[in-house]
Symmetry: C2
Subunit: 126 residues, 2 copies
């Protein structure tokens, strides 16, 4: 788990941009040349090229040239490190452990500023 944290930070970085997430989502439909990808955005084609370069460096996409077109396709396995990192939190909201934890926290938290135990109280609204 401590190992998962600093594993391939370029992937977390690449995915932190909503434009790049949209590109990945587009590529689910299949490999596409740059012009077609750029067609879905407002920004200039060079900007798209730059995003693609970041995705490429992270290994999230790969490139194959076809004549003058450069087709980019998804490398979904490269999302693995993110999924793995998320995975070690999942039990906290999915399973009994989390329900118990939440339940106990609600039960024991009533007066603020009492002791070292952590509790969740009034900030549970969302």
């Amino acid at each position: 788990m401590r190992t998962a944290i600093d594993e391939e930070p370029e992937i977390f970085d690449a995915v932190s941009s909503s434009a790049r997430r949209r590109i990945l989502d587009l590529l689910v439909e299949g490999g596409q040349p740059v012009k077609r990808i750029a067609g879905h955005f407002e920004m200039s084609r060079p900007a798209i090229s730059q995003h693609l370069r970041i995705l490429l460096a992270a290994g999230l996409v790969s490139e194959q040239r076809q004549g003058r077109e450069h087709h980019y396709r998804l490398n979904p396995e490269r999302l693995g490190p993110i999924r793995d990192w998320i995975a070690h939190y999942e039990r906290f909201w999915d399973d009994n452990f989390m329900r118990l934890r939440t339940h106990l926290a609600k039960k024991t938290a009533h007066k603020p500023g009492q002791n070292i135990e952590q509790r969740s109280q009034d900030e549970k609204k969302r």
Copy 2:
């Protein structure tokens, strides 16, 4: 799926920093006051406060004051949007179809910029 993309970009943003991911990982152990969190880092305590503010704004942590200490605790459910976004890619590397696709892709194109072939045209039109 198009909806999942732009959903809560602050969460993707918050998690794109390795310092902030480390903070979240620390908080798995339980809520902690700022000073204790900062003890695990080289950077100054104000820098930690600033990271915590970003995590707080994203809803990934919550704060509760106990005397002069501010305890932060994890809100793991807030990682849900990331998990959900990842989830719609999982079948691409989890299931048989993806194994086949990867296998075929490796056979014909692997390193970026090396291959002239393009087969995504017929590969993914499931």
